[in-house]
């Protein structure tokens, strides 16, 4: 799987590039619209990620020109926050999806997987694993040895967040942001309820993972002993 990233903010580009490579994608990165067009037209990419605000040629122009010649490669747009108009315009021009900055890494990866899946392409690294317990990112099944159980969407997001931060403390604020969204107004008790659900399901499949609570701080996912 080869991905083209066109993004002029070096920091962000670097970070995303690193993230994608860690997920076993091959990534090329451009920092302006002109070179983006050049690379984009080669047709060798499985997904294109385009920022809207770009030097030399903005994301819309880029998108338009690429779509003149290539209607199929999935394109993901990155827009600044709250620019709904941009979103609509971009989708009209032929983008397949969009993501507003700032975005979470999970969100980005999920969108990429969705685009690839829609194309019927094989996914790379489609599961998270920890101590023998596996979370299938496309079916949302949690599995340990031969037992598995289906997670709901909230349970799934919670679990994947914990697994991404294995052995680290994850605060309830962070969990709320990942599971309910950036500006959600949700009681802490909701997190507690879902943690409870997850613990039950982990137990059900006899997983060796434990969600430990760190009073006043949050939770950490770890093995049975620690």
């Amino acid at each position: 799987m080869r991905i083209l990233l066109v993004e002029d903010e070096r920091h962000l580009a670097e970070a995303v590039c690193h993230l994608l490579k860690a997920k076993k994608y091959m990534v090329d990165c451009c920092y302006d619209g002109e070179s983006g067009l050049e690379y984009g037209l080669t047709g060798i990419y499985d997904v294109l990620i385009l920022d809207i605000m770009l030097p030399k040629k903005n994301g819309f122009e880029l998108l338009k020109e690429i779509r003149l010649h290539d209607r199929t490669t999935p394109i993901l747009l990155l827009t600044a926050k709250d620019q709904v108009a941009d979103k609509v315009y971009g989708l009209d021009l032929g983008a397949d999806d969009y993501l507003t900055k700032p975005f979470s890494t999970d969100e980005l990866l999920a969108r990429i997987r969705a685009l690839l899946r829609r194309q019927g392409k094989l996914l790379v690294d489609d599961r998270l694993e920890m101590n023998g317990t596996t979370l299938n990112l496309s079916t949302h099944e949690l599995m340990y040895q031969d037992k598995k159980i289906q997670l709901g969407i909230k349970e799934f997001n919670l679990m994947s967040c914990l697994m991404h931060h294995k052995n680290q403390i994850v605060t309830k604020e962070i969990l709320i942001e990942k599971v309910w969204g950036y500006d959600a107004d949700v009681d802490y008790n909701n997190v507690e309820v879902y943690i409870s659900f997850l613990r039950k399901k982990l137990q059900f499949i006899h997983s060796s993972l434990r969600i430990k609570t760190v009073r006043g701080m949050g939770y950490t996912l770890g093995g049975a002993e620690g």
Copy 2:
């Protein structure tokens, strides 16, 4: 299976279109090179059938431009007479096969089947199999042991899509794209209704397959246990 036919002789186009539909292919038809290009580049077709003599943009140009962006979709050329030069030129440009007019219907169908088979889109004997349940791709019959039942075209496309993605989740968006077409504006409920039809038919033949719903995501086809 979706086929694009680009042919300006209305009579012939009509006839071929009718023939293919009778064979349960989904067929779209264009009458000139420009719209042919537009449709051809969508990438949703399993086979492209291009006439050489076309208004606005002839078959060779069309072929060339399509092959710039899509090297895999099988292309069958229709040439006027026994123009060996045309044949060679066409194959050089990336066509997969050619047929000289006039041709027999059987001949056309055989070429199409051959192209599809070469792509691995059809199994050797024209059927998809899973856990003892088989879907006959040419008669559209669903069979388990000695019981069988006829599927309609929509039911069939749905079923084959699920069988192609066995044990994976298939979203309603994807099903709509595959069954109703890429730009179809179809309510989710339609998918639900047809899933319901299929479940009834699977039950009728006592198949061991089950269509499991993954709430908020889509469906997956699996064995009885789940």
